[in-house]
């Protein structure tokens, strides 16, 4: 077992080293006699190759992320063209979705808060109903639901847009004109993602809490002043901080991952749907990872 592990690690770095090592051991002769060495070698090679590929792609993604962050804090990145794209991106990501968003927040708000209140009443938790609603709406539901909606709507659009630009050689044309792709194309989208998800999460939470009053009015016969006081006394600074932290993190990955996926599209039109598919899968994994990470941090 030890020999195999040593060989595996070795082959992950340099495949031909393993061949040399195998020649020096009796183990190799034993395997050769069985006629299985080629199969095992191929298996180990494929594991090593996929390990190298994974490490390389993670390194590439981290390098791209850090480049975007460096450009984000550099004032020279904010030229007039970039600002124009940023305004348009905010309009398309955050403003055009508002009617649908308001309707969904209202419907979900009244129904879900209703369910939470009904459950709390059933388990005699009326005393802590305020903190239950705040934790559920502000910390969890509003940012996560907003992130899902924006990733489905804008994440896919950005991934397709960048992939099409890549396939059509538009990105190369911009490079030819010495236009920095991060400043002109990626940064406005990432910043608009952060601004849109944060503002829409706050809006979603506010509407959800307001619409929740409708249920409390009919179910618990609670007046608005009491409902307001319950919520105000339950909310803490840490709740606002969690909402902002999660929204910023969600907004960042919702744009970054589709952009990166679009950039990695192979040079054919048939590669575009594959790129969008891969990008969306990675994005949803990242969203769940952030959600789990924030839950763990809150528990600490």
């Amino acid at each position: 077992m030890v020999i195999i592990v040593i060989k595996y690690l070795h082959i992950s770095l340099q495949t031909f080293h393993l061949r040399a090592l195998l020649r020096q051991t009796n183990y190799n002769e034993f395997i050769n006699s069985k006629g299985e060495s080629k199969v095992i070698l191929q298996l180990i090679e494929s594991i090593g190759a996929s390990a190298i590929r994974s490490v390389y792609s993670v390194g590439e993604a981290l390098k791209f992320t850090s480049l975007c962050l460096i450009h984000m804090v550099n004032p020279r990145s904010y030229n007039p063209a970039m600002r124009m794209v940023l305004v348009k991106q905010i309009y398309f990501t955050a403003v055009t979705i508002i009617p649908l968003f308001l309707m969904m927040a209202f419907l979900f708000g009244s129904v879900i808060i209703g369910a939470v209140i009904a459950l709390a009443t059933e388990y005699s938790l009326q005393e802590s109903i305020g903190s239950i609603i705040i934790t559920f709406v502000v910390n969890e539901f509003a940012p996560f639901f907003t992130a899902l909606l924006i990733s489905l709507r804008s994440g896919t659009a950005v991934n397709t847009e960048i992939a099409v630009m890549n396939v059509n050689e538009e990105l190369n044309t911009l490079r030819e004109y010495k236009i920095n792709l991060i400043n002109y194309l990626f940064l406005p989208r990432i910043i608009s993602g952060i601004i849109s998800v944060t503002s829409l999460s706050i809006l979603f939470a506010l509407i959800m809490l307001s619409s929740g009053y409708i249920f409390t009015l009919f179910y618990m016969n609670m007046d608005f002043h009491t409902y307001k006081q319950i919520l105000i006394s339950a909310i803490e600074v840490s709740d606002i901080f969690v909402l902002l932290f999660k929204s910023v993190a969600f907004g960042f990955v919702i744009m970054l991952i589709p952009i990166y996926s679009g950039l990695k599209t192979a040079n054919s039109y048939t590669a575009i749907p594959i790129s969008v598919l891969n990008g969306m899968v990675k994005l949803f994994i990242a969203l769940f990872f952030i959600e789990v990470l924030s839950l763990i941090l809150q528990l600490l």
Binding site: N79, P80, A81, M84, Y177, K178, I179
Partner: protein
């Protein structure tokens, strides 16, 4: 198209968008193409796209501009002189080099430009 041209000045010279677009509009007016200012690429003909590409190249600081095989860029182009006249109007301060194949030599007969084989 206006944004497409103005982009170069906005990025390289940090020129405000309205000013950069004014310069782009002025260039289009010089060759009587101002009607395409608000068109999208799909609405433009090959000749119009060529002019946009050329004006965009003019927006750069580089002194030399090279046009490679204009007959493959513009469909159904019969007379290069129309293009050359517009290039002269637009780029009187720059050095323009047109590179083409010998098979297209016939199209360049009668032009006032220097021809090198």
């Amino acid at each position: 198209m206006l944004e497409n041209i103005a982009l170069i000045k906005e990025v390289h010279e940090h020129l405000a968008t309205p000013k950069a677009q004014d310069i782009a509009r002025e260039m289009l007016q010089k060759i009587s193409q101002e009607h395409i200012a608000l068109y999208r690429v799909s609405a433009c003909s090959a000749t119009e796209i060529f002019y946009i590409q050329f004006i965009r190249a003019l927006m750069m600081k580089e002194e030399h501009i090279m046009i490679v095989t204009p007959f493959s860029l513009i469909d159904n182009l019969r007379n290069i002189n129309v293009i050359i006249e517009n290039i002269k109007i637009l780029a009187h301060k720059k050095h323009i080099l047109i590179v083409d194949m010998l098979s297209n030599e016939i199209h360049y007969k009668g032009t006032a430009c220097n021809t090198v084989k």
